[in-house]
Amino acid sequence: MTLTARALKAISSVSAVALCGVSGVLVATDPKPAAAPLRPPVNGASHGTASLVIPPTCGATGFAGSGATATLDPSLLPIAQRLGQATTATERRAILASLTASQRLDIEAYVRALRRSAMSSSGRCEDQGTGSADGGSIAPSVVAAPASTQPLINTYVS
């Protein structure tokens, strides 16, 4: 028995449609886990793990926006990241130097919010009066000055 080319094409098309249909039904009826990982597991976890794996990147170091308590112009995020990692005042000034006043304020607020978020998630409190706002590394010092001293600053009711 010989089949014409047209008949072969028709059989091929019908077979393809049938195959796709059967596959679709099989996929639709296949049992699935209730919660699938949103991202591939990290740290060598096996692929068979059913529980949701959250990458350990949000909150404390989440400069990409996840875990942040405020939002920032995306173009400023790399600068905020550098500011958050700066360890000296000179570094901080250098990072902020090229920005407008408004951008400086927003970036400092953003970094501050991240730090607050990281501290609260780790159970630490900042600004407890026993350390600096940088996280408590410098103890404040205060001593009575001789009355003969000339004050550099007056604090007053404004």
Binding site: R92, G129, P140, S141, V142, A144, A145, I153, V157, S158
Partner: protein, 282 residues
Amino acid sequence: MKTATARTIGHAFAAFGGARCELMVCDAPAADVSAAVADVVTFERRLTRFDARSELPRFNAAAGARAPVSALLSELLRVCLDAYLLSDGLVNAACLPALVAAGYDRSITAVRRHPAILRREAARPQVPPLPEVLDVGAGWARVAPGCAVDLGGVGKGWLADRLCERFDNAAVNLGGDVRTRGDGPECRGWTVALCDGRLVTVGDAGIATSGISGRRWPGGHHLIDPRTAAPARTDVTTVSVVAGTALRAEVLAKSACVMGASAVDAWLAARGSLRHALVLDA
């Protein structure tokens, strides 16, 4: 031990409704000091409640709805929530309607020149607990309908801390909210006069003074007692507090003034005050 005198740049200017502000910075480029001054001016312009175009009035005008907020306002609103907790509710940013009802409805210069005529029979707005009326999320915030917030001195304290942290050896004074870092221009620390005239020498610390003698007008002053929704009736005219940061010192000083002298010593010590000075009503 360092003994040389540091090259110091000093700059004094008026901001926050005419309050005296000072930056004293040792061994840093003048451009960075100028940038800090610009930041103070910009901070006030962005957040003053006396200009309807600034972010804070626009946020208050959107009461009841989730409003988009900048990173700056978002952080400051969170700071206000922290201040509420630290102060046992005595520093409450939701006191703005009460403050306006007390007569502080324009800039302090305008209020002093033409005080509002207050009707005694007028209903006094209550001051709700701040956490019940303010939500802050990622990029948005919401204040409850009929409520409004004012950053008050909390904003100044926060800013003084941020600006001072940009320098290794500096003092920043924003209308009485002072933050210092380093060992001063002569390596002997920063000497600061408190409200009672006593002097303290500090290294890394915050100092703030609050009281009822500054922003006042016939019939009122700016320190609202959230418990009564009226200008605080207190025996403390002025209080200075030394603490770890200007922000903390500001919150503690304002609380102490509202609270009154009788309970203030133990209360302040339990919240990180290193030293305080009171001037009582004669």
